[in-house]
Amino acid sequence: MPRITMREAISQALWEEMERDTNVFIMGEEVGVWGGSYAVTKGFYDHFGAERVKDTPISEATIIGAAIGAALTGLRPVAEIMTINFAFSAFEHIVNQAAKLHYMFAGQMVLPMVIRTVSGGGRQLAATHSQTPDVVFAHFPGLKVVAPGTPEDAKGLLKSAIRSDDPILFIESATLYQSRGEVPDTETLIPIGKSKIQRPGKDVTIVCYSKMLETSMKAADQLAQEGIDVEIVDLRTLRPLDMEPVLESFKKTNRAVIVEEGWRSYGVGAEVSTRIYEEAFDYVDAPIQRVAQKEVPLPYNRNLEQLALPQVEDVVKAVKEVV
């Protein structure tokens, strides 16, 4: 299997789906002539043309609102919000329109749409441009929230998302675009709403997603050298949350660390650990640990920024707390 970058994997998924179905089109800020602010849609404008690769004004609410409208006419828009930090300007249309219309009008309105956006810190963009508020969006029933951690998952999940008839927020990590992984040459479709064991182990379960998969993998490598065998469950989808592989793993290891890039309070760790306590309490051998971002707006200064973000050492330390 070829090893390609996350950027290439996402780009391939978009390209293949646009070639397959003329109802699929892209809209967003700088997706066309510029080629995408993260270069994901480079070359698309020349190949597919301005009608299918639509550069929009800087109007986030209307990018999502118009995607909803286009989806209601039967098209499959892939709307890009340049970073998730700008999604707050479109919050109404993501959580109060896209997530509601199908249910509220008793199934009459169908929204086959994908919102692609970029989350995460670590690039010295300071507080307003560095957030990981994924769980905020995952809070709302009616929306599906996908956040892959490998190129293969990114490609397969994005292709499934584009073919889905539900509104899906597809969150990419700002610092994973250059990361590489094996992606099959053949048609790759990965079902939405399925967690996956990315590394088998027997001593401790790490639950993570997106960028924190990379961090957790590095921690697991270090811990292996010390004789601690870590199993890593990648959620891949935050809503609907698939707890089966998590519970299965936990019932084997009896210990868990939840790792997320966003803030600890009300986060993925809070949700997943509670579900473990609720559904596998008899298997708990140690208090579940959470690794997350320090509770401050992310600072610009490199040292302070890295101090606030969850690091490999934080994961290693948390694992040692539970074994």
């Binding site: 609410a61 329109q97 219309l101 009459q108 309105m109 599906k144 539900d166 079902p191 939405i192 698939d242």
Partner: protein
């Protein structure tokens, strides 16, 4: 215009008036929950507008949507059933007063967040353009919606992309209890369209014939020019913003003056009789028929079943694992 078309305008306006009066009673009896925004006084706007559309033209509006729903062809009984939250309502009891729709009739709701449906309207027009359809998307909203950012984003996009949207502002002089003068930099709302180079006009919304004429021209302009048009319709709501509005922001004399001098039903009744298109007796007959339709609609709604508990999770997603 054929005689039956003249009479249909009257029929639909009286139907809306009677449904809204019935809704008032049902609300007072505690049978309607939540908010209830009545269309009384504004009947000529939606009626003149929507009866001018072609079947392929989409309609989307705000939360004062009962009249629009009726004009789009949702049967009165399904409007009333939705008000009562019944399974037989047009949104199966999920949406209530503010969220009625029937996409089969090209009525895309009933949207209750002020201004939020304007970008959606632009998107529907984008979808139709993409698919080579000659549909016009008719998007109705109140004067209050023209002060929120979505309005400006959506108007701008519609012009930049030349989308076939007819923007219709129902200026009823108050956004809830705040008068247009206290909330908007311009009180002639159509001026806001000037900033986006969108052709526009203003029409008396209490005269259904004038609305109809303006609407026909505007819809034709959008379809021919394949670009947006902005129509401001001057109107007035005779009742409060919603039930339980203390109406401290306007005098009862002001309301009475509009009710006496500007009642859209009275104006049109006079027009039909003065021009010998119809007679008082014939129009009385239409009113009686409408009363019967509303009464049987109430019976249908009251005797309809509530949604079952199993419906709670229905339609949360299209694809469930």
């Amino acid at each position: 215009m054929e005689k039956n078309e003249y009479l249909e305008l009257f029929h639909q306006m009286i139907l809306i008036r009677l449904v809204e009066e019935q809704a008032t009673l049902l609300y007072q009896q505690g049978k309607i929950g939540g908010f209830l925004h009545l269309y009384i006084g504004q009947e000529a706007v939606s009626t003149g507008l929507i009866l001018s559309r072609q079947p392929q033209d989409r309609v989307i509006t705000a939360y004062r949507d009962h009249g629009v729903a009726i004009n789009c062809g949702i049967p009165v009984k399904m409007v009333l059933a939705e008000l009562l939250g019944k399974a037989t309502g047009c949104s199966e009891g999920r949406g209530g007063s503010m969220h009625m729709a029937d996409v089969g009739k090209n009525f895309w709701g009933g949207h209750a967040i002020v201004g939020a449906h304007l970008p959606i309207a632009a998107g529907m027009a984008l979808g139709d353009r993409y698919q080579g359809k000659d549909s016009v998307t008719i998007c109705m909203f109140g004067d209050g919606a023209t002060n929120i950012g979505y309005f400006h984003e959506a108007l701008n996009l519609s012009k930049v992309w030349n989308l076939s949207v007819l923007w219709v502002c129902e200026n009823n002089l108050y956004g809830m209890g705040t008068s247009v003068e206290r909330a908007s930099a311009v009180s002639e709302i159509r001026q806001k369209a000037e900033g986006y180079l969108i052709p526009n006009s203003r029409v008396d919304g209490m005269d259904v014939m004038k609305v109809r004429e303006a609407a026909e021209k505007a819809i034709e302009a959008v379809r021919t020019d394949k670009s947006p048009y902005f129509l401001e319709v001057e109107t007035y709501r005779f009742r409060g913003h919603s039930m339980g509005d203390p109406e401290r922001y306007r005098t009862s004399e002001e309301v009475k003056r509009w009710q006496n001098d500007e009642d859209p039903l009275g104006i049109y009744h006079k027009y039909l009789v003065d021009n010998k298109i119809s007679s008082t007796e014939e129009l009385d007959g239409l009113e009686k028929a409408a009363e019967q339709e509303v009464q049987s609609g109430v019976q249908f709604a009251e005797s309809s079943p509530e949604p079952s508990a199993e419906e709670l999770y229905k339609n949360l997603y299209v694809e469930i694992e």
